[in-house]
């Protein structure tokens, strides 16, 4: 269960950190605020999972230890969320690919046999409903916008498509979680995720990239080079000033 919790915690923590990198750099003030608010929600959600994981471990570690004192190989997040922000279109496409999976994943997790996980899911789903709406609207606006915005968001989807498969491909600890009843059967949510993707992409006048070779490895600790740089920044304070607390 610990690995499953860390998958959820690391996904939300790393994407939250990426969105936080936009703070002060958004293309418009409203977008800047939206992205930092999304980051806040995601990091808040990750805290719920980290706290739970730390309690289960019972080794005296805290949520901060799990977020700030593990190395890249111990992170369980999907490769998608650690990909660099790129331009705004790249960030929107990454968020949409994540949100359109996250929403249906949480919907299913609300039925988890583990009460605490189900409670976190019910709570998070309310927030993620708005995340999905926000990224869907921006995919449509950019895709069905100017020639340049269309080209950029299409490029973004073409580039990120290879990271999409991992979201719907269970790691061994997820299969275990599903059979134990507290996890989510990724196969069962797949049709709804696909339907959402197809619907929004077509409304955005975008071409759905071919499903070709899909990257994987993040869930078992084999990450792209980007995660190390991200952690170097995210964990800097805790590494430089050990045991500092809020």
């Amino acid at each position: 269960m610990r690995d499953f919790l860390l998958l959820l915690a690391d996904n939300t923590q790393i994407l939250g950190h990426r969105l936080g990198e936009w703070c002060g750099h958004g293309p418009e003030l409203e977008i800047d605020m939206a992205m930092t608010n999304l980051a806040l929600d995601l990091i808040g959600q990750s805290r719920n999972y980290y706290q739970y994981a730390a309690e289960l471990e019972g080794a005296g570690r805290t949520e901060d230890d799990l977020a700030y004192l593990r190395d890249a190989r111990e992170f369980r997040n999907c490769l998608l969320v650690e990909q660099p922000n790129g331009d705004f279109a790249r960030t929107v496409a990454r968020n949409f690919l994540f949100d359109s999976w996250h929403f249906f994943f949480l919907e299913a997790l609300c039925q988890s046999s583990d009460e605490r996980l189900a409670a976190i899911a019910v709570k998070s789903l309310k927030e993620v409903t708005y995340h999905l709406r926000w990224s869907s609207e921006w995919v449509i606006r950019l895709g069905d916008g100017t020639e340049e915005s269309h080209r950029r968001i299409q490029d973004a989807f073409d580039h990120l498509w290879t990271y999409r498969g991992e979201l719907l491909t269970p790691a061994p600890f997820e299969t275990e979680a599903t059979s134990a009843g507290y996890g989510v059967d990724l196969l069962s949510i797949k049709p709804r995720v696909e339907e959402k993707l197809t619907d929004i992409l077509s409304r955005a006048t975008l071409r759905r990239p071919e499903d070709a070779w899909m990257q994987s490895g993040g869930k078992t600790g084999r990450h792209s080079e980007h995660l190390g740089y991200l952690l170097a920044e995210m964990q800097y304070v805790q590494r430089a000033y050990p045991n500092s607390v809020w």
Binding site: L38, K123, S124, T129, Y130, R133
Partner: protein, 189 residues
């Protein structure tokens, strides 16, 4: 020995909590928001639990300096930075009334919803310039339908959304096309 005048009741605690406001929206108290779900008091062998809904066991009394009090609060948004401040304000309020053993704990279930905000508090929001949540918070409707929001100043429904996220995660930014004022809308949650 303590005298009767040193005793406090659970009803009094609820009244004290009524003076703690939401730091982001200071016209609303934390009870308007439904943030405090339950109070638990323990003194020697006696334990009393009072739920927010119905304010049960309000008559039970005890000695603040001998009692352990636990207040259960529920976060509005999981990442809401106001929660730490709210917990600190609750502890301070209890301390001013003589409590020394105070703990504030978070509960996630049932998940907080804007449906808990009563009409009286919605009116306070309007007067403050924030449009209150429009409809019952149900995920499908939020995802697939556009909400019509009334301007808190002129009540016109001829308004438009400027941004999904406003000054805080719980609000969106709108503009009234009649009186031309921009305003915050407290989103359904």
């Amino acid at each position: 020995m303590k005298t009767e005048t040193d005793m406090a009741s659970i009803n009094e605690i609820w009244n004290w909590l009524e003076t703690v406001v939401d730091p982001e929206i200071p016209v609303l108290t934390i009870l308007d928001m439904g943030i405090v779900r339950r109070i638990e008091i323990r003194e020697n062998d006696q334990v009393a639990v009072s739920e927010f809904d119905g304010r049960t066991n309000g008559e039970v009394t005890f000695h603040p300096e001998n009692a352990q009090v636990t207040l259960f609060i529920t976060p509005t948004y999981t990442g809401c930075p106001a929660m730490n401040m709210i917990a600190a304000h609750i502890s301070m309020e209890m301390a001013t009334h003589g409590f020394t053993d105070i703990s504030v704990r978070e509960v996630l279930q049932p998940a907080w919803t804007t449906d808990w905000i009563p009409e009286s508090a919605r009116q306070k929001l309007r007067e403050y310039g924030i449009a209150p949540p429009e409809q019952a918070a149900r995920a499908e409707r939020l995802l697939f339908s556009e909400v019509s929001v009334a301007c808190p100043r002129c009540q016109s429904r001829n308004t438009e959304k400027l941004a999904e996220y406003g000054s805080t995660a719980c609000k969106a930014l709108y503009r009234c096309k009649d009186c031309l004022e921009p305003f915050d809308y407290f989103k359904c949650h």
